[in-house]
């Protein structure tokens, strides 16, 4: 990687069919040189559109892509200095592994010999030295994706675009690829724009995360911040948050069937939904004076070593609060418990707008999209 570029996406909008909601709506994002930014979103959120527009494979309806301050509007994909790795490896089946990696050099007119020598170096970088002579189709899924990565890196892109490149791999291989990419980042310092639906992958690879939902940017920041202070219900849900308690905020206190709970930071007065991550909730005895609320375990969900319990707190219709138990802890359904909701773990997001003008289905989680991204933070 000769020089990593600074990427800026400005107000990117893509309308596929006139009259339909845009696939991407006013998306702005900075990817500093040498950093890795993950665009995190569920399928259909427009995250692949972000990469296609950045790579020049598709043209935005509005907005622009800038690389090191240069506007790339109208620049064809091959002259953008970017290389993309897709979820499918897309190795050229008529070429050997080595010639796949040498492809970028060859189409730029580098002599075959030199291109092949450099290809060997990049194959070495992804720990596939000696695989050059094999036909591309003889590799396993993990090896294919390594070659795809080597091929993209051999193009010496100023920005490396990764479109869910490890999603099709099994857990162990994925972890291996994460280590490999982390290692490559240390050695080559590329600028990486990664798209994924998996918060764990974003956490493993990216410096910062941009959450996309319904074509709109919901929130950017460190994943840690997003976990503790999601800006919207969509972000909270995407990151695995399940507890959502509607109520009202007044003078920094959230009032709901759970009672009056002081919040850690300033939140404007008005209706708000309290979200608390299950890992932060501590389960104690029902009589524990430290408990913020008491309720009954109604469901236990096994999740590896740790179980997730749903505790129903009395209220209109019953208010479910989810809590993760300690490793090896067990609680049967029907057991009354007390719950500690640490102040720092309490976050309030704007309520879902159920009567969005765009005709969002009332009462569904997606309805919050119509109301725009919340900027309210505890």
């Amino acid at each position: 990687m000769t020089s990593s570029g600074m990427l800026r996406l400005e107000e990117l909008t893509r309308v596929h069919t006139a009259g339909q909601p845009p696939a991407l709506d006013g998306f702005t994002l900075d990817v500093p040189a040498g950093s890795c930014v993950a665009v995190l979103g569920p399928s259909g959120s427009g995250k692949s559109t972000v990469l296609r527009l950045t790579a020049g494979l598709d043209a935005p309806t509005r907005g622009s892509v800038h690389l090191d301050g240069r506007d790339l509007t109208g620049v064809p994909p091959e002259r953008r200095g970017m290389a993309m790795v897709f979820q499918r490896p897309l190795l050229f089946p008529h070429l050997s592994v080595r010639d796949n990696v040498a492809f970028a050099d060859r189409v730029r007119g580098v002599p075959r010999r030199t291109a092949r020598e450099r290809a060997e170096e990049y194959l070495g970088l992804v720990a596939l030295g000696g695989y050059g002579d094999r036909p591309a189709r003889s590799l396993s899924g993990g090896q294919e994706q390594r070659v795809a990565l080597a091929r993209a890196l051999a193009a010496e892109p100023r920005v490396l675009l990764l479109d869910e490149p490890f999603s099709a791999l099994d857990t162990a291989l994925r972890a291996e690829m994460h280590d490999l990419l982390t290692d490559l980042r240390v050695r080559l310092d590329p600028t990486v724009l990664l798209v994924t639906h998996d918060p764990a992958e974003a956490d493993a690879l990216a410096d910062t995360v941009a959450v996309l939902d319904g074509g709109r940017l919901q929130q950017t920041g460190l994943l840690r911040e997003l976990y503790t202070a999601p800006a919207s219900l969509a972000v909270s849900r995407l990151l695995g948050g399940r507890t959502e308690v509607a109520g009202t905020v007044r003078d920094g206190v959230h009032s709901s069937p759970l009672g009056d709970l002081p919040l850690p930071g300033w939140v404007p007065d008005g209706p708000g939904v309290l979200v608390v991550r299950p890992e932060a909730v501590r389960v104690t005895a029902p009589g524990d004076p430290a408990a913020d609320v008491t309720g009954t375990v109604v469901r236990v969900r096994r999740r590896g070593l740790r179980a997730l319990v749903v505790v129903e707190v009395p209220g209109p219709g019953g208010v479910p609060v989810e809590a993760e138990l300690g490793a090896g802890e067990e609680l049967p359904a029907g057991r009354p418990v007390g719950l500690v909701l640490p102040v720092a773990a309490r976050a309030v997001v704007p309520p879902a707008t159920t009567s969005a003008p765009t005709g969002a289905r009332p009462g569904t989680s997606r309805a919050s999209v119509g109301g725009g991204p919340g900027r309210r933070r505890p």
Partner: protein, 256 residues
Amino acid sequence: MGLTARVARAALAAWLLLPLVPLVLWAAADRWTAPAVLPQAWGTAGLRDAVDAGAGPASLRSTVLGLVVAVLATPLGAMAGRALATYRVPVGGAVLAALLSPLVLPPFAVALGLDVLLLRLRVPEPVGVFLLLTVAALPYTTVLMRAAYAAHDTGFEEEARTLGATARQAVFHVQLPLLAPALAGAAFLAFLVGWSDYVVTLLVGGGQLVTLPLLVASAASTVGNEAQVAVLSLSSVLPPLVLLVAVGLVGQRGRA
């Protein structure tokens, strides 16, 4: 391979090859009269007669005709197939029906009608044959290439573009190599249309373009020279067979 599959393959091979056995026997028979199971006298009289009748130049003409038709109809079919598979062609069904119409209409009627037109336009006879046979080959190449493009993953070309290939390079370095087996198949079919045509060559060519099928037909219309007919027929069958094996090998390499 299971036993059933083996038997089926053997039966298929027999079905295709058995009709050639009498041909081969006749080609090498100087005398073979009714009750005898095998020829009474072996020899090369049939071969000599065939060469005397002009089998050499006729094969050459047939080869050129097949190649010209393949060279014209394959890229045209590829372009039409690509358009039909990738873009929203207005009334695509009607376009496809028009392209397929040479298969539906009786070739004799079409050739006769167009012969008059070509004569009035003063198109030289061989050029008329090339043109008409290219049109006759288009349905095969178009349908085959349409299926190939429909199954083709454009992701490969997009990947090539992000790696620095121009649109043209993406076509020549990625798209065409990936479609090589289909292109070879389409070219083979188009070659066959030119190689084996009788009606158009006879009517439009006006007897100027004596190809192998014309020679076979004229030899077969008289009696007493079965050996010569057999040699001519074999020389019409063998080149496509060799080509088929070659195309099959290309296809195999593409799938390997």
